[in-house]
């Protein structure tokens, strides 16, 4: 159900400081740029600088397959995050969404071993976490009730 996207793009040495700066100012967690790309379980950029010429690694676990995800990323990433791609060698600055998507896709690799055990959509997981929270709050608020009263309270909260 989920897809792993792995992409490597070259970055010239001179652009590294500016790229580091661009990555460094991006907010993290739920304010992070990928919150606006639907279907992202997680996504991250990593600068690889010790293995030879610098590379920008992008890896993500997504609800949709690579191409539609990359396209949605091109369309939805906020400008302060689009800047990251603009640091890569050969990024087609003036090109259309389709061309940019194709550029990204051409740099994708099929990873042999990725650790991603989620087999549910982002929506399923968010709903699951919410149900867990509600259940936890319910259990805390109703602790100590007799079984019949507990069952009644449970039905009132979660339905029959």
């Amino acid at each position: 159900m989920t897809t792993r996207v792995t992409l490597l793009a070259a970055v010239t040495e001179q652009r590294l400081p500016s790229l580091r700066g661009a990555l460094g100012v991006l907010p993290l967690g739920s304010d992070g740029p990928f919150a606006s790309v639907p279907g992202t379980h997680y996504a991250r950029w990593v600068l690889l600088t010790r293995l030879g010429p610098p590379l920008l690694l992008f890896s993500a676990v997504t609800d949709v397959s690579a191409r539609p995800y990359l396209q949605s990323m091109v369309e939805n990433l906020p400008p302060e995050a689009q800047v990251v791609w603009e640091h890569c060698d050969g990024w087609p600055h003036q090109a259309s969404v389709e061309e940019k998507t194709a550029w990204l896709e051409a740099r994708c690799y099929r990873p042999h071993l990725t650790f991603a055990t989620v087999e549910a959509t982002v929506q399923d997981i968010v709903a699951g976490i919410d149900a867990r929270r509600r259940l936890g709050a319910f259990a805390a608020a109703n602790q100590g009730l007799e079984p019949a009263a507990l069952q009644k309270a449970f039905r009132a909260e979660f339905g029959p």
Binding site: I129, R132, G136, A137, A139, A140, A141, Q143, G144
Partner: protein, 455 residues
């Protein structure tokens, strides 16, 4: 897993600062953070002070009347003129400083760096001199001595924090504290020091490199080194001032005890994972183990959680179980081994303001201290507890959110909810506690790449 096969390294005790591998054991302390006006003055001052720093060599007879540590913040290394290439090669968390890592540590709201005590987290604190003695006049004398050498070279004291043990080595909530420490191979162990459980539940010592730079650690016989002169015999020091709201804690445990039909002392013990006398809930789930056991450090600290997977004896979310889950996570102790720390905190009492000066020594701030605070104390996912925080030191915003609760275990499980803010961060710094020869190198201005090579 090669955890147990590492070569046992012998620490060079005359180079390592004291109090790291074995506690000084004094009952009073003073922590003077100072601002260095310029590199020359700072080095001249350091030159005068290095000779007074206590090393880790055994004291042959009675212990000295006082002992000292000197450590430096990243801003302090900058102020002393340390080569930018050396500084750039130091780990990111240390370079950012504790205030710079507020988002990682969950220091927001009332714990946010903007609200910290003056002098902490602003870049003004450059060097820390920590002084220890057993009586107040000696501490005063030592403080005067440090202050006068500081003023001679134009260093300003920006924070002067005193600490003192409470009766019976308790912290302010009334719990015996500070005795559970990692056993380190090559270092004679303190009574009660615990190791890391192997897959048979036996406690094994941790390699020295987990706490002191330049020695084999769990991962490698030759772990990545810090740049010279910091490559060997130093450690990182986490210094964190945590205010404790004792009245709120006592009122809370009494009120929730009433709701749950439990004595307040039991509620408090379930939050900590030990009884006030220090005996662990894992061994004594329903009442304290008693004075005789409490005095026997080996008995109070030789236990695991693997046989209590649902937290029926010790709640999964209790402070000590989170801070050191022992074999309570999958794969025995393997998951916890790299997240241990040596703790050397002491309570402070400034009138009504009371709390703990939490001090930890670790080889890697991010992997050890920050990991524990961020993943194990501010969140409960690792323990199957969703986002439940540590009821004592969890991120306050989570504690007080409408979902803030602690699961006390049992069948049916009982909960503490909502939680309250009992502990507030008042400030802190990440420091490098260099080896004694690295302190000399700094004092001489030899903190260059070429000053020493490798080992």
């Amino acid at each position: 897993m090669t955890l147990w096969r590492r070569r046992a390294a012998i620490p060079a005790l005359h180079h390592v600062q004291g109090n790291v591998l074995r506690p000084f054991g004094y009952t009073r302390g003073a922590h003077l953070f100072m601002h260095v006006p310029d590199a020359r003055a700072g080095r001249a001052w350091l030159h005068q002070v290095v000779g007074t720093v206590t090393d880790a060599v055994d004291w042959p007879g009675a212990k000295p009347v006082a002992a000292r540590n000197v450590s430096l913040t990243y801003a302090g290394l900058e102020a002393l003129g340390v080569d930018p290439r050396v500084r750039a090669a130091l780990p990111e968390a240390f370079r950012a400083g504790m205030a710079g890592r507020a988002a990682v540590l969950g220091d927001d709201g009332p714990c946010a760096p903007e609200r910290w005590d003056a002098g902490l987290g602003t870049g003004a604190a450059h060097v820390l001199v920590s002084l220890f003695a057993d009586d107040a006049p000696t501490v005063e004398r030592e403080v005067d001595d440090v202050r006068s050498s500081a003023s001679r070279w134009g260093l300003d004291v920006v924070v002067d924090q005193r600490t003192a043990q409470l009766l019976g080595a308790r912290e302010h909530f009334g719990f015996s504290d500070g005795f559970s420490q990692p056993t380190i191979s090559g270092v004679p162990s303190m009574p009660g020091a615990d190791g890391v459980p192997d897959r048979f539940g036996r406690l094994r010592p941790l390699p020295l490199g987990e706490f002191v730079h330049g020695y084999p650690d769990i991962d490698s016989d030759d772990p990545p080194a810090l740049p010279p002169p910091f490559h060997r015999n130093g450690t990182f020091q986490v210094w964190r001032k945590l205010a404790q709201d004792v009245d709120a804690f006592n009122a809370y445990t009494a009120r929730h005890g009433d709701v749950l039909g439990l004595p307040a002392a039991t509620v408090a013990a379930k939050m900590i994972g030990r009884w006030q006398d220090g005996t662990p809930l894992s061994l004594f789930p329903s009442s304290p183990g008693g004075e005789e056991v409490a005095r026997d450090a080996d008995r109070t600290n030789t236990f695991c959680y693997g046989d209590d997977p649902r937290g029926e004896r010790c709640p999964l979310g209790a402070h000590v179980r989170r801070a050191n889950p022992r074999d309570g996570l999958p794969f025995g102790g393997v998951m916890t081994a790299r997240h241990r720390m040596i703790r050397r905190g002491m309570p402070y009492t400034d009138g009504d303001d009371r709390g703990l000066v939490f001090v930890a020594f670790v080889a890697d701030i991010e992997r050890q201290f920050e990991f524990v605070q961020q993943h194990w104390c501010n969140d409960g996912d690792a323990f199957g507890l969703g986002d439940e925080p540590d009821p004592i030191v969890g991120r306050n915003a989570r504690l007080t959110s409408q979902h803030g609760k602690t699961t006390l275990g049992g069948a049916p499980p009982r909960f503490l909810s909502p939680l309250a803010e009992f502990v507030t961060t008042r400030g802190g710094e990440y420091l490098l506690l260099p080896s004694i020869d690295a302190l000399w190198a700094l004092a001489d201005g030899r903190s260059l790449w070429r000053c020493r090579s490798g080992r």
